[in-house]
Assembly symmetry: C2
Homo-oligomer: 342 residues x 2
């Protein structure tokens, strides 16, 4: 079996506490003793039992992450960045996927609470804040990622969604689009922010959305992705006036939308320029390479991890902190109407 402090103590004729003190670099240990203990530890490949340590300290050196979909590159990248950052500090990370299902998400969170993780990170699919009240009751600190809830004072790390909407829309306007439509997402902070940015960008050009030019993706899981984009774009194409620019809530819906546009015999970007959001890894290889707003997911992950570590190590709880990552426009063929890259 795995070696314990007791074994090492017996082997060397010392007390358990002395060995434990060496382990934790406690000052009152003689140089000779320290050397002997360390040597023995290496020999038996000693690994402290973290369960026992947790029991005493109340900490687990463990974080929990819940995302709506691990398959989505945006969340996968965040997860990867968090894992990489926290690992270096000796923290391990539970990761789970809620499948965009609020109930499943609550279950996952309960599991994490039962495991007494030091901090919970959630990209939430909740529509109410009830679940977070529950976390607060247990006094476990938590950080919201990507999506936040209106008036709640919580730790948050995510992209500045209004900036996303403005960036994408301004870009389309610069490409001489004058009838920019928007396929908006479900009723969560990200979609609301991007819609807001879209409107503000239009407003700064003294424009407003034309009738029927803001369409919602269906709210069922099935309609969030390509299928939803396809349906939404078909509706858009049937609108009173046809759009000449399209800003999609995310890349997958943009894929669907592009298919609908091409199926209708229209050209991208000549007839309709398209911009997505997320800048997923394969944008370059698409039938029409997709322009997209990069949300800096790696950055989000790193910042979230840093914040989590700070919270985990803090003696007492501090004020909630919100961090907004700046998005970045990545222009590709789907919206480049002028070859000079203007």
């Amino acid at each position: 079996m795995a070696a314990r402090l007791k074994d090492i103590a017996n082997d060397l004729g010392l007390s358990v506490v002395t060995v434990s003190k060496v382990l934790r670099d406690h000052p009152d240990i003689g140089a000779e003793t320290r050397k002997r203990v360390l040597k023995r530890m290496r020999e038996v490949n000693y690994q402290p039992n973290l369960a026992a340590r947790s029991l005493v300290s109340g900490k687990t050196w463990t974080l929990g992450l819940v995302v709506p979909d691990l398959l989505h590159p945006f969340f996968a990248e965040i997860a990867k960045a968090i894992s990489a950052t926290t690992r270096k500090q000796g923290y391990s990370l539970f990761i789970s996927s809620s499948d965009e299902d609020p109930e499943l998400e609550v279950q996952e969170i309960k599991q994490l609470l039962a495991r007494r993780v030091d901090v919970i990170l959630v990209a939430s699919a909740q529509s109410t804040v009830e679940c977070f009240r529950m976390i607060e009751e247990q006094k476990t600190p938590y950080i919201l990622i990507d999506r936040r809830f209106g008036d709640m004072e919580t730790n948050f790390v995510g992209v500045d969604d209004e900036a996303v909407g403005m960036l994408a829309t301004s870009h389309l306007l610069e490409q001489q689009c004058r009838r920019v439509a928007h396929i908006r997402g479900p009723n969560v902070s990200t979609a609301i922010g991007r819609l807001e940015g879209y409107k503000r960008a239009l407003a700064s050009h003294h424009l407003t959305p034309l009738p029927g030019h803001v369409i919602s993706l269906g709210s069922s899981g099935d309609h969030r992705g390509e299928k939803g984009g396809y349906e939404a774009a078909k509706q858009l194409l049937a609108a009173e006036t046809r759009p000449d620019g399209l800003f999609c809530f995310n890349d997958t819906s943009a894929l669907g939308a592009m298919r609908a546009i091409l199926d209708a015999g229209l050209r991208i970007p000549e007839d309709i320029a398209v911009v997505g959001c997320g800048n997923f890894s394969y944008s370059d290889f698409l039938r029409v390479p997709l322009s997209s707003v990069d949300q800096g997911s790696e950055n989000i992950g790193r910042h979230a991890a840093d914040l989590a570590l700070r919270i985990a190590r803090a003696k007492k709880q501090s004020k909630p902190k919100a961090e907004y990552i700046a998005p970045r426009m990545v222009v590709r063929a789907s919206s480049r109407r002028f070859p000079d890259g203007r």
Copy 2:
């Protein structure tokens, strides 16, 4: 603070053990007492402290998964499936990414060992088996995923790679390709198996690879993906006789290869038909939709999770078990030379 058994016991004037027995559905508890305890548990939202439980039982109800790259859809899907399956049984999952770096992987595994996870699942980037000897020393059961090591008798779940190679190559031959080339992967079981399958499929048509028609992706991380595929394909195009069919080790290298082929002014699939492996989610939306061998990653994940749970719950260790998942050919435009889908 979180409620403990002791609190509940005090509240009701019972002993801690009695409460604990209720928690675990122990028989010798009176109906009335049981009801009172359960009621109180609900009231204070009692969550057992798993650290304490682990200390006594030696189990953690925790599994660890290490993959080379969480961003890769193949591994992301496996991770998701494992997480979904194990969650239902009350197990939580540590997930970490080794970035294809053997040393990092060893570190991750050491962390998991220190945390005394019940089972470790690894899609390994090791080139030697040393690391697994280390796991065995700690008596922690482990399961290899996707990649295995020659003669080692270990638990394994993965695709049948020789079948992958045969499936892809036979398909190309059926499409009337006669000069089928192969971009092979690094020197690990998956690449070796696929190469073997490729050769066997050719042999069954009384063919052998032409000179220069089997090319390796560079071994550095950078050259595994699109870049590697691009470089390799350029070499292939310069070969003595130009291939008319190409089976790529994975989808990302296939993307690079297709770019090289299109850049050279050739048509896909008319001049060169291309098949990848992995069937990643966006294959349909590429410039030329990519035919690919589906490795059934979700299936791999589910089987691995089931095996892990069986091992975790078993009283004593059982014989290592290897499970091979059957691959499936998904034909798209990049290799469909006959419109009738023949």
